[in-house]
């Protein structure tokens, strides 16, 4: 019983030091297979106006991703005057509204991997003190493993060098929050399935349906069986009014997941809208047959189709 409580204390200690504590890799050479020195010199620079580091950083990343945009265009979407700054969520939703994947990463290893892959990383730093924070967005455009420095576009400085140690300290206070801005046909070098799908879903919710279709297809290149991606393609095509493409997508979903209620349910709706009532009925019946937590929705679909009068 004694050793039991010691174990518990140990675990608790590990937990409450925070994942940031354990995830403190100030030796990013552990990021396997990266060149020892990278600098993305072509990343554009927008010197920030007062408090406008958010729009400046986001504009640099968006422009790098092929969008001709300036910080002034972004101020309304990103900057919160009452906070004299830009909220992280506002940065993310703004990127999505411009049809870009906004992918959050954490930690020096992943950051170095992404820069090595040619992707600049927006970072949130606290340049002040823990009890008197000075929050600041900057863009990491390079690193040097032997010199142990990070190169940033920061404030009004085109190439700001910061030692790993100082960078780590300032970035740690922001919980190592980093943001990648990518075109929907690009995968982050360190892409994780859940996080990438979430980012694409964000595009769909921001009604960027064309970009969402691209993003989901990109997800399928790495994770070909991902059901969310297949359904997402179908739903996005439906929102675009492209019923044939939507139908193809749901049928593909069924190929990979032959007992998927949502796939059959949504296929039934597509078929109904195309006036193919008999096929719609069959699809709806399959959905009801496979059931699951959403079975009442499938039942409603079936009832709607059954009651549908042909013109």
């Amino acid at each position: 019983m004694q050793s039991y409580s010691i174990v518990l204390l140990f675990v608790a200690g590990m937990l409450f030091s925070g994942c940031a504590g354990l995830n403190r890799p100030v030796h990013p050479e552990q990021a396997a297979g990266v060149p020892s020195r990278v600098e993305l010199e072509a990343v554009p620079f927008y010197p920030q106006k007062e408090y406008q580091c958010g729009p400046a950083a986001l504009a640099m990343a968006l422009r790098w991703s092929g969008l001709p945009i300036s910080p002034e265009d972004l101020t309304d979407e990103v900057f919160t005057p009452s906070r004299k700054g830009s909220l992280q969520t506002a940065m993310i939703s703004s990127a999505r509204r411009h049809g870009r994947i906004a992918y959050v990463l954490t930690g020096l290893n992943d950051m170095v991997s992404e820069v090595a892959a040619g992707n600049p990383v927006i970072v949130l730093q606290n340049l002040g003190l823990s009890w008197y924070p000075v929050w600041h967005y900057a863009v990491v455009v390079g690193y040097d493993l032997s010199e142990k420095v990070v190169v940033l576009r920061s404030g009004i400085i085109y190439r700001k060098h910061m030692s790993f140690r100082v960078f780590d300290n300032t970035w740690a206070r922001g919980n190592y929050w980093g943001l990648l801005i990518l075109q929907p046909d690009q995968l982050p070098a360190t892409a994780k399935e859940d996080l990438f799908l979430s980012a694409v879903l964000g595009l769909e919710k921001a009604r960027q349906f064309r970009a969402a279709v691209d993003g989901y297809h990109t997800a399928l290149t790495r994770w070909p069986k991902n059901l969310t991606a297949h359904i997402g393609i179908g739903n996005s095509y439906y929102a675009l009014g492209e019923l044939e493409n939507a139908e193809k997508a749901f049928r593909k979903a069924i190929c990979f997941h032959s007992n998927s209620g949502p796939a059959y349910n949504n296929l039934a709706h597509i078929l109904l809208e195309q006036g193919r009532k008999q096929e719609a009925l069959e699809a709806a019946r399959k959905a009801v047959f496979f059931g699951g937590p959403l079975s009442s929705a499938y039942q409603k679909t079936l009832e709607e189709i059954e009651g549908f009068k042909r013109e």
């Binding site: 769909e204 949504n266 929705a297 409603k300």
Partner: protein, 138 residues
Amino acid sequence: MRGIRHIAKYVSCFVTLTMLLMSMPVQTVGAAMIGTETVMTLTKAQDVRKNLNELLNREDVKSIMIAQGISPIEAKARVDSLSDAEIMQLADKMDQLPSGGSDFGVVVGAVLIIFIVLLITDILGYTHVFSFVRHPSS
């Protein structure tokens, strides 16, 4: 006066009823397409359940549970009865665990397993180790 009172009674009854109906969260399950986000949440919950079941099937995990006086079969049955919301709560806590400990290695592995087992049994109501778990009133 009596007339007005008489009408007022019916009017107030009607108003009360309408307000009640309007305030009730009427969950109309419309005949509709299933949204992508719903599918994502559902799939995540299924994956978590699968991982959980695999964990509970491991010999080392089973022996720890038995040592704590917990029947693995009973534990599995109770996990199966957890709602999706509770499964996701569990997944959130598991996500917070330190991952990929290169330095700590073996130690972390063993401690991790014990932690996970305790977390599960807490949620199931066997134990009361963690304060962040909302304990089912047995």
